[in-house]
Amino acid sequence: MKFDFSEDQVMLRNLIREFLTDQCPGSHVREMIESETGFDREIYRQFVQLGILPFPEQYGGGDLGMVEQAIILEEMGRIPYPGPYFATVMLAGSALQLSNDENAMARFLPDASNGDLIMTLAFTEDDTGWTADAISAEAALNGESVTLNGRKRFVPFADAADIILTVARTPGTSGQDGVSIIAIPADAEGVSTGKEMMFDVTSRTATVEFTNVSVPVENIIGEAGAAWPVLEHVIRRAAVAASAEMLGASRRSMEMANEYAKERKQFGQFIGQFQAVKHMLAEMLEKVENGHAAVYYAAWALDADAPDAALAASVAKSTMNTSSRKVCGDSIQVMGGIGFTWEHDLHFFFKRAKNLEVLYGDVDHHYDQVLNEVLAGRVAGAGD
């Protein structure tokens, strides 16, 4: 029973923190979010070249586990980093890896590992759920090609992506049957993107319309019509990854509020001397530390393929969904007016956490999953 990070993991965290605080100070985050694409391509390239990717080594990755990805994403949450790492690596990359489609991996992962290829996953539609019932875009097989029609919303970094892994179903199917993942080049004929702008200014998304987009059948990732189990696993990984980002955003937010409470005086004393503020911060600390336990337990469980891996992922996401709104929100309350200004970085964390709350399952979705796992007996044994 070792809950602490290994030495390698500590080194990884230090490496990432150093890189990001160096390359992405608040001033540069502001530049990036004002820019056309919303991120800095050069920083992104350098970042993925740090050798930290979960992809297999033969495709240029670092073969790192989910615990390591959680460490990386927690650090990203502390900036919060604006860029397509999550989209390329945690969404599209996970879909390729978990599909076990060697051809597709060989085709896309080496370039992605270089930072030359940006990918994303188009899952969400007008229906914003995270079960197979939410999918209605249609992919029709016509001999050697497949034709895609449908509209995807909130596609992360769709404007920047070269490849959009798109989730669609065989016409006439429903539920978990008939779901496929298809690699669509962003410049394919019939693909058009529409602007979205979110409350979380550090994340970019777009609406993508697919009108009779035709690609070769080789672009289907894994087996046609049988992608749901893969997607379920992708969403689970994404939920844990998002939880890690929310943890980073929460902890950084709390640290800022805590520093402020030690410096800001009102009524002749530091505001951190008022119990109202002190106790609020103590509650944040409790939530952050519990969140740490939840995120890393879940990441470990995925790596270990533990029987309670799905349960732990839902515990982590539902917990961070409720904690991060409280921690980031109360940080604003502690900092008062200054926390409400655009000039202070605090709102970035609040917004990033809020955005991640509704992605990869809200609390309703995950409490449902938790109970299902419990009723199915997929819980951790007490060592037996």
Partner: protein, 416 residues
């Protein structure tokens, strides 16, 4: 108890509603002139400053009539009057504390929006602890010389005049060295720097004063009595307006009801999710409580009572409730609730013409986070309730300990 609206009130409501239907601008007011014109129209219809005495251009209207106008304006999506602070804060302050000359000079122009006013209270180091403000107004002959900085000044960029709290005696205990002064915002040495908020909009400013000369005649009331004047002023902010806050929430709720009937999640309309139904039921129940308690406050105002420390309950309640409700709205709406641009028409919070809320759920959400901070944070309200309503002893606080120590030291060692 009788919670029916009187026939008189009902008739008045119909009249207001009819007038608004005919007169509310159908397009967003862009220019300051357009905004002033709308303000003036509201005034001329008798819907601004309506509780003021008729000698000052008001109509001695009852609190219920004011509440009805407030409600109907929200319902009609009428833009707020551009000189809102002039009407809600400055006018009443002048009426209670101004000289005849000051009132003659300003009150009519406040009503017609010929003069737009802002409130120069908060400072970077004087937020919750407003009385520690440091902006100075030093007397020099028959003028004040003002130096310092204000922050969180709403609408400063449009303002002709400001109602300022400034320190006029640096040696007095902090509450006793503050004065209330009228400042011409076009005076040399006044600099307004817009402040961008978390919401992305810029409703507030920082205002800097460098050797700004203000005629001594612009003092309100006695010198060094500004704190007491401001306390009365602040109480105008609380009380009768809670009903229109309820109405605003209800308008959003009704819009949400439309949306949840259309938008689907996991293949079913949102309204068919039992969890969303539960949340909608709870939110509506919570909103109704605000309505009932607003009626209770109005009933007291109608009886002629002034809002006392109990008004802190209303402030605490509606600001915390708004925060909770907006969060629930976003829970229900999923990513659509966080969209600022590109939001489908059938999901958008209907764009009203109020510049404060440009039609996205996310904006309303963002602003709800400010409500528990400004005009006395929730923590301050709870202190007021604990001490002034529940009668709990004051907390031991550094400034009080220091004041006691100074008093003891200045009175010698006599009481050892």
């Amino acid at each position: 108890m009788d919670l029916r609206y009187t026939e008189q009130d009902q008739a008045f409501r119909s009249e207001v509603r009819e007038w608004l239907e005919e007169n509310v601008p159908r397009k967003k007011l862009e220019t300051l002139d357009e905004k002033k014109a709308w303000h003036r129209k509201l005034y001329e219809a008798g819907y601004l400053g309506m509780g003021w005495p008729s000698e000052y251009g008001g109509r001695d209207a009852r609190p219920m009539e004011q509440a009805i106008v407030g409600e109907e304006m929200v319902r009609a999506r009428a833009p707020a009057p551009v000189n809102g602070l002039g009407i809600s804060i400055v006018g009443p302050t002048l009426i209670h504390h101004g000289t005849e000359e000051q009132n003659q000079r300003h009150i009519q122009k406040i009503l017609t929006a010929e003069e737009i006013w802002c409130q120069l209270y908060s400072e970077p180091n004087a937020g919750s602890d407003l009385a520690s403000l440091q902006c100075r107004a030093d007397i020099d002959g028959d003028e004040f010389v003002v130096n310092g900085q204000k922050v969180w000044t709403s609408g400063a960029h449009n303002s002709d005049w400001g109602l300022m709290l400034a320190r006029t005696d640096r040696n007095a205990p902090k509450h006793q060295g503050i004065s209330c002064i009228l400042v011409d915002m076009s005076s040399p040495g006044v600099e307004v720097r817009p402040l961008k908020q978390l919401s992305g909009s810029q409703e507030f400013s920082e205002v800097f004063f460098s050797d700004v000369r203000v005629p001594a005649d612009n003092l309100i009331g006695e010198l060094n009595t500004g704190w007491r004047i401001a306390q009365t002023t602040l109480s105008y902010e609380r009380g009768g307006n809670t009903l229109s806050r309820y109405t605003r929430m209800q308008e959003s709720f009704n819009r949400l009801l439309d949306v949840v009937g259309i938008v689907k999640r996991d293949g079913a309309a949102l309204i068919d999710s039992p969890h969303i139904r539960w949340r909608l039921g709870k939110v509506y129940a919570d909103m109704e409580i605000l309505r009932y308690s607003s009626l209770r406050i109005l009933s007291r105002l109608e009886r002629g009572e002034r809002p006392g420390p109990e008004a802190s309950i209303a402030k605490l309640h509606y600001s915390e409730l708004d925060k909770a409700i907006q969060e629930v709205f976003l829970d229900i709406l999923g990513p659509y609730g966080q969209q600022i641009e590109g939001i489908p028409d059938h999901i958008a919070l209907e764009p009203d013409t109020d510049p404060f809320e440009p039609g996205s759920w996310a904006y309303a959400f963002a602003w709800s986070r400010a409500g528990t901070i400004y005009a006395g944070s929730s923590e301050i309200q709870k202190n007021i309730l604990g001490e002034r309503v529940l009668g709990l002893p004051k907390e031991v606080r550094a400034d009080r300990v220091q004041a006691t120590a100074q008093q003891a030291s200045s009175s010698g060692n006599g009481d050892d």
